[in-house]
Structures are given as structure tokens and as C-alpha cells.
């Protein structure tokens, strides 16, 4: 079953399933009189317009965003406004003149169908790209993005139908353009919050400032923005449908020739089917809304559960549509005995529900609390306050000790604080609960890597690759692990497989660069990093690596630029140390810049003593004495030797470099640096000897 659900073949039907439900809603809103062929034509036009937008966007490579468009530009200029324009162009120029479009009802429902076609195409592509996580994405989009698109289309169709009733041709355009701008802005607001919440783009400072002004966490404000956009469009769609039944529009009734309908059509259009579906949609959504509202009221920072409300808005709107715009006349008044029975039945059901909540409701409530506390932990993590994040995860795990998300995130936070033993315990527990999760295995392998347990790294990655053999990053990570145990043949084989699976994967390109450098191929290593930076211009780790390669090649100017750029993103002090060395090689005075960085450093962690040594505040011996582990001592040797090299003390520097090359772990940049510098010194010594011989 799990294999089936992870299969991409199961993903596409799931992507289309929500379309079936929404198509049924359209048919009911059409009261059986909406032509099926018009529905098909509208869906087709929607798919065409959706593809056109995707194709027109492709040259801008928004996924990698090499042009550095801001999230506002992407949301407004590339998503909201053009997508709504495409839909309205399709409705106005292709559907409006279509021969089966007979009245305003047909036009509005055809516009909704067009938007549904557009949304389903987008849904299939997104779900296909989600890999094995498609299930969660399919559910989220079924509750939010797909109906959101359809309701936007419905409202746009209403605006065009209303504009068609204007007296003059000129008079209709201001209405249509105003509707387009309004719908485009709503769409963009939804997309903007989604981009920022998914972390696809760094939130612009204005988001933080507005959130602060409102006294909310940025994530909470973004969820509120998304919720607002969804709520507004749902209300607009409902009002559009309500107005369609009133003058100046003509009310459309269900065809009188009911005998011509097949039995299944009669069932689908029956009031009972609508009531059942509406209850199924509205009841759980209302419960979710009530719970998220209660959290907002009862729990400190309880707005963190707004995401639950986000998923509830569109189903409620769809349920209200089913109830408020039925294709058949209302039920006849029930006999008194039936009504009494229903009343007593309701009392009994309420009693049973209370009992069930008391008996079985506690754990779901605790799960929700755990989810809420985990969200708070993530917010602290994003601010860099890992201690506070761990406290939040502790509270989450007190509510539900098996809450995987909290376990994994606490493990990651512990790793950030270099408490690797605690991190390992968290990931061990998480993997015990979810042994087939490749992401958890990968994260645990990173902890093992920090503990220099190379064989444990390989064991975890072996298992992860067994589960997710198409992940290029996993193969690249294992290549790196094989390199650390000096099994170069396996490392090369793994990196070749990783390249086949993801030729632009940043991790693969970085590991490939390290592998090439190991063979002394600096040019090749540089090319791999260039390829990475071409595909991912903001990859700070790649910039840092390329800076070091420039330095080994005696190009301190280029090195300094890369170190500066990477130092703006990477939070640790190492890029600043290397920027110092590049600056010294350029003949600059690099001390002021490093001093500024040092004053901004909030903790006294390693390699702070090295920086203080570079600034002349302590000696090399004192810096080495400040090191608490072998890893730190090897780094102290390396940086002291590098500083000697910059000062022209080549021979005194050599022993330090040799010690670093021997003692530093293979995956350390200092190991790589010591070997590169020794190669350079050897090369220079040979050249000098040859020159002397001549």
C-alpha cells in the first residue's frame, strides 16, 4: 500500500480527484442546464491558458530565480496579475462567443470551469514535482489552491457577465479591468504569503516590520494574509452566485423534463446528495475553524494554528454553495413526528459527541498542542534562538512523545548548538518511529558526520538510498562519506549516479568539486562550482568554496569577493577569517572588517580565538590553547600556518600545514586548504630549484 501511495502513478489521479468534486459542484450550480460540452471546452481553454502562462514564465527561470526577482515581483508580476489576465482573456475572447454560452449563468459557470482547468494543470505539475511527498501537497492544494482558482474564475466570469449588461461597449472595460486588478491582487496576496511561508524566498524587511507593528510573528501574519485572501474570494464567489439569481440577470431553473435525466444524474442533482456533501464539507471545517479560533483565544501565540483555518475556508464556501443554490426545489416540510424524532436524535447525537470528545478527544487535542508548540519552535529556530526552540520542542514532546516533527526539529536544533549526542538521540528515536523516512536518515547521517563516524554515515545513507533511489542529494552525500573513508572508487561511482539524477543539484556539484580537488584538479573543481552558482546563484556554501579555490590559485581579489558574498549569508565566522587572509594577500588592511564582524558575534564559540589571534589580541599559542577538541586544535594549526604564509614565513608555516593535513578530518576545509597550500609550496620550490639549476 505504501509503495502504491509513493508511486507517481497514484499522484496524478489524486491531483485530478478534487477536479471531479468541483466539476460536480459546477453541474449542480448549473441546475442540470449547464451544457457538459461547454464545461469541456472551458476546461480545455483553461488548460491552454495555464500552459501558455507557464511557457511565458519559463525564460525567467523563477524556480532558481537567477535574476533575483523579489517575492513581491514574482507574486504580482509573474503570478497573480498575469494568471488572472489569462483566465479573463480566455473567458472574454473564447468562451463568451462560444455557441453553447446562452446566458449569464452559462458564462459565469464556464469561467469557473476554465479556472478549474487552469488549476488542475498546475496541480498535476506541482504534485508531480513533489516526489514522494505528493500526498500532503495534493490534500493541501485540494483544500486551498484549486478551489481558490475556481472561485477567482467564477468571480471574474461574474464581472464579465455584469459588464456585458452595460449600455455601451466602452463602459464595460473599466469594470472588467477593475475586476482583473482586484482578482489579480487577491491572487498575488495568496501567492506571496505561500512563497514566504514555504521559505522559497527570504521575507523582505517590510514583512517583519508590518508583523512587528501588528504584534504578530511574521509567519502568523502571512497565514492571516492567506486566510484573508481565501475568505474574501469565497465571499465574492458566493455573492456573485446570489446576484446571478436576481435582476438584471434571469433566474435559471432546472429543466422541467426530468424524465429525460438518467438515474445517476438525478441522484447527483438531488437535494439529498447536496446536503450530505455539504455536511461532510462544512462540519469538519467548522470544527477546524473553532479549534484554531479557540487556540488563538486561549493559547499564547495561538495564532500559530491559523494554517488549520486556511484549509477550512474553501470547503465551507463549497458546502454553502451546495446548500444555498440547490438544483431542485427545497424539501417539503416534514411531518411533526419526523421533526420530533430528528430533534431527539440530535440531542442523543450531541450527548454521544460529548462522550466521544471526553473519551477520545484528549489525544487529538494534545497533538494539536504539540503541533502549535512545534510551530513556535520553528519560529525561534528561524530567529537563530535555538535554545528557545528546544524549549518549545520539549513542550511539544511532553504533549506527544512520538511527535516526529518535534523530534526531528529538536535534533536539528541540538545539532546547531553542537550538542551532537543529544541530536543523535532525537534522530534515533524519530527513525525508530519512522524507519522508512529518507529525510530523517539523511539528517542523522549529518550528525554522524559531525561525530566523524563515517561508517555510520554510510550505513544511514545506504538505507536512505534504498528507500529513495532517485534523490541525487543522497547519492552525493554518500559520495562525500566514501571520500572520507578514502574509498575514492565508490565516491566516484556515487557522484556519477548523483550527476545522472540531478545534474544541477547544488550538493552534487559541491561534492564533485571536493572530489576533483582531492585529485588536484583545481580547474575541474572550479568548473563544478561555477555550474552550481550558475544554477543556484545564492548558494553561499558554493561561494565560500569557490573563494578558497581562487585563493589557492593566487587570485585573492576574486577570492575576497566570494568570501564577502558568502559571509553575508553564512552565520559562522569562517568566511570572515578567509576574507581576512585574502585581504592580507591583496595588501589591504583586513583587520577593521574582521574586527567589525567580531564585535557582532554574539557567542564566544570557536573559531573566535583564531579571529582574535589574527587581530593581534592573543598569540598563536594562546589561540591553540583555547581549542577544546582535536578538530579545533588542527584548525588552530592551519590558520596559524596560513597567517605565517601571508607574512612570507614559508618554512615556519610548513610544519603547521603538514600537521593540519595529517590531523584534520578529510571533510574539513582546513584539510583541503592545507593540502592545496602544500602542493603550491612544493610546486614553487621545484620551480625555484629548476631556475637555480639553469
Amino acid at each position: 500500500m505504501n509503495a502504491f501511495l509513493a508511486s507517481p502513478f497514484a499522484a496524478q489521479p489524486a491531483a485530478l480527484l478534487v477536479g471531479l468534486l468541483l466539476a460536480w459542484l459546477v453541474m449542480r450550480l448549473g441546475r442540470g442546464a449547464f451544457p457538459l460540452r461547454l464545461f469541456g471546452a472551458a476546461m480545455s481553454i483553461g488548460a491552454v491558458m495555464g500552459t501558455l502562462i507557464l511557457f511565458l514564465e519559463t525564460p525567467f527561470e523563477l524556480h532558481a530565480n537567477p535574476h533575483g526577482f523579489s517575492p513581491f515581483t514574482i507574486a504580482f508580476v509573474f503570478a497573480g496579475l498575469p494568471e488572472e489576465a489569462a483566465k479573463m482573456i480566455g473567458v472574454y475572447f473564447l468562451l463568451r462567443p462560444y455557441y453553447l454560452n446562452r446566458n449569464s449563468h452559462d458564462l459565469v459557470l464556464a469561467a469557473a470551469s476554465l479556472a478549474l482547468g487552469f488549476a488542475l494543470l498546475e496541480n498535476m505539475l506541482y504534485i508531480s514535482a513533489a516526489g514522494e511527498n505528493w500526498g500532503r501537497l495534493a490534500l493541501t492544494r485540494a483544500l486551498t489552491a484549486v478551489p481558490f482558482h475556481m472561485f477567482l474564475g467564477l468571480s471574474g466570469g461574474y464581472a464579465i457577465a455584469r459588464a456585458d449588461l452595460s449600455a455601451s461597449r466602452l463602459g464595460r472595460w473599466p469594470r472588467i479591468l477593475a475586476a482583473w486588478a482586484g482578482l489579480g491582487i487577491l491572487h498575488a496576496a495568496y501567492d506571496l504569503s505561500l512563497f514566504l511561508l514555504k521559505g522559497e524566498a527570504a521575507a523582505p524587511p517590510v514583512v517583519g516590520r508590518v508583523a512587528n507593528g501588528l504584534g504578530l510573528a511574521p509567519a502568523t501574519m502571512l497565514y492571516a494574509l492567506m486566510l484573508g485572501a481565501l475568505a474574501v474570494i469565497c465571499v465574492m464567489a458566493l455573492v456573485s452566485l446570489w446576484r446571478l439569481d436576481r435582476p438584471p440577470f434571469l433566474r435559471i431553473e432546472r429543466a422541467t423534463n426530468r424524465a429525460a435525466e438518467t438515474r445517476s444524474v438525478r441522484v447527483l442533482l438531488s437535494r439529498g446528495a447536496g446536503v450530505v456533501a455539504a455536511v461532510a464539507l462544512i462540519a469538519p471545517s467548522l470544527i477546524a475553524l473553532v479549534i484554531s479560533g479557540a487556540f488563538a483565544y486561549l493559547v499564547d501565540q495561538g495564532f500559530a494554528l491559523l494554517w488549520v483555518a486556511v484549509g477550512a475556508v474553501c470547503p465551507i464556501a463549497a458546502g454553502v454553495m451546495l446548500l444555498a443554490f440547490p438544483p431542485s426545489p427545497p424539501f417539503k416540510r416534514m411531518p411533526l413526528a419526523w421533526r420530533r424524532g430528528l430533534g431527539w436524535g440530535s440531542v442523543l447525537a450531541a450527548g454521544l459527541a460529548l462522550f466521544a470528545v471526553e473519551r477520545w478527544g484528549q489525544q487529538p487535542f494534545r497533538d494539536m498542542l504539540a503541533a502549535s508548540q512545534t510551530v513556535r519552535g520553528v519560529e525561534s529556530d528561524l530567529k537563530g534562538d535555538h535554545e528557545a526552540a528546544i524549549r518549545a520542542y520539549d513542550r511539544a514532546l511532553a504533549n506527544n512523545p512520538d511527535f516526529i516533527d518535534a523530534l526531528a526539529k529538536r535534533g536539528a536544533a541540538n545539532a546547531n548548538l553542537e550538542k551532537f549526542d543529544l541530536a543523535l538521540a532525537d534522530f534515533d528515536q524519530a527513525i525508530l518511529l519512522r524507519p522508512d523516512n529518507p529525510e530523517l536518515l539523511f539528517q542523522r547521517s549529518e550528525i554522524h558526520r559531525n561525530l566523524h563516524q563515517a561508517w555510520a554515515v554510510i550505513a544511514d545513507l545506504d538505507r536512505a538510498i534504498e528507500i529513495a533511489p532517485t534523490s541525487s542529494s543522497l547519492w552525493a552525500a554518500r559520495a562525500q562519506a566514501h571520500m572520507e573513508v578514502r574509498d575514492i572508487a565508490k565516491a566516484q561511482s556515487d557522484i556519477a549516479q548523483s550527476e545522472r539524477l540531478g545534474p544541477r543539484d547544488p550538493m552534487m556539484l559541491r561534492v564533485m568539486s571536493v572530489l576533483l580537488l582531492e585529485h588536484g584538479d583545481i580547474e575541474g573543481a572550479m568548473q563544478a562550482l561555477d555550474a552550481d552558482l550558475q544554477a543556484n546563484p545564492n548558494d553561499a556554501a558554493a561561494l565560500f568554496s569557490r573563494g578558497r579555490l581562487w585563493l589557492y590559485q593566487q587570485e585573492p581579489g576574486k577570492a575576497a569577493m566570494d568570501f564577502e558574498r558568502s559571509g553575508q549569508v553564512l552565520t559562522f565566522l569562517y568566511p570572515s577569517l578567509w576574507r581576512f587572509l585574502a585581504g592580507a594577500r591583496l595588501g589591504e588592511d583586513p583587520a577593521p572588517e574582521l574586527a567589525t564582524k567580531l564585535s557582532a558575534a554574539t557567542d564566544a564559540k570557536w573559531p573566535l580565538p583564531v579571529a582574535r589571534y589574527y587581530l593581534g589580541k592573543i598569540t598563536a599559542a594562546e589561540a591553540r590553547a583555547a581549542a577544546t577538541t582535536d578538530d579545533e586544535r588542527c584548525e588552530a594549526d592551519f590558520y596559524a600556518a596560513e597567517w605565517m604564509l601571508e607574512q612570507g614565513k614559508t618554512e615556519p608555516a610548513r610544519p603547521g600545514l603538514e600537521t593540519a593535513a595529517e590531523e584534520c578530518p578529510v571533510d574539513f576545509i582546513e584539510y583541503e586548504g592545507a593540502r592545496a597550500e602544500l602542493r603550491r609550496l612544493d610546486h614553487e620550490a621545484k620551480a625555484a630549484a629548476a631556475a637555480a639549476a639553469k
Binding site: 508511486s7 507517481p8 502513478f9 499522484a11 496524478q12 469541456g40 471546452a41 476546461m43 480545455s44 481553454i45 488548460a47 491552454v48 491558458m49 500552459t51 501558455l52 507557464l54 511557457f55 511565458l56 514564465e57 519559463t58 525564460p59 523563477l62 524556480h63 482573456i89 480566455g90 475572447f93 473564447l94 462567443p97 462560444y98 455557441y99 453553447l100 482547468g117 494543470l121 498535476m124 505539475l125 506541482y126 508531480s128 514535482a129 532517485t470
Partner: protein, 170 residues
Amino acid sequence: MSETESAMSPPDPEASERRDMALFTQRNLEKFLPLHDTIAAGRSAFSVCWPGLVFPQAWFLYRKMYGWAAFACVTPLLVTSIHAFGGYGNVLAYAPALAAISGRRLYVGGARRTIARIRAAEPDEAAAEDVIRRAGGVSIAGAVIGALFFIAAVSIGSRTGVYVGLKTAP
């Protein structure tokens, strides 16, 4: 034959069908009528549709064949983006070209079915003719959208080397 005789005689179904086809097609009737006649005679018919082959999306949209237009637009995108198709994706991406080369045959077949449906649903002659005229004809807006699509597709094709396909989902 006298005028009275002419008015009394039943309408010729073949001529009526040809008139409906002319109403439906409106432009370039001479390209479609021979196909229509062959099909009406119960024989199989085919004619290479060069504009359809070169500009499939634009031609289908121009001729208001929205279902086929969607097929031509979406197929290359989906088969190259959905991993389930694996290496067959790039081959399947050419399926719309096969459909487009027989575009005229598809058009005439679709037109005949649409006309038959309209005739069955609309007893009034004038109203039926009006609906047939609206159902057929060409869409300039469709052609413009199709041309935009063609330009975008050629631009992508020249960058990726794949026929209007995307290697990864955007």
C-alpha cells in the same frame, strides 16, 4: 420542373449537409468540402493539414477546436514533466504533431457531429443556422493566443532542445 414542383419536392439531404458545412466552416471552405463529401459518401478520408502540423496550437485555437488545442498544449508539458513517463516522455511529446497533421479530418468529423447535434436540438431552421454559424467559423483571438504559445514554445525548444517540452516542472 416548375416552381411549384420545386417547392413541393423534399429537400436534398446532401445539399443541405453541404450548406450546413459551408455555414460552419466559413473560411477556406474549399479545403474542407472535399473531405466532407468523401466522409458523407461513407469512404475514409485524409488530407495533410500543413498549418496544423507547423502551428498545432494556433491552428486548433483558430478553428475553435479547444479540446484538441488543450491536447496539443498540455501533452508535451505533462509527458516531459511527469516522472512516471520516464524516458518515454520526450517521444510522447510528439503525439500532438500526429493529431495536428490530420487536423482537417478531425475538424470535418467534429463539425459533422456538432451540426447533427444542433439539427437534432433545434427544429427552427433560422435558429439552427444561426447556432451552426456561431458554433463554427474561426477565432482570431484564438489564433493570437496560439501564436503567442508558438513563440514561447519555440523559445523554450531552442533553449532546451526539447520539442516544446520542459525537463522539470516549473
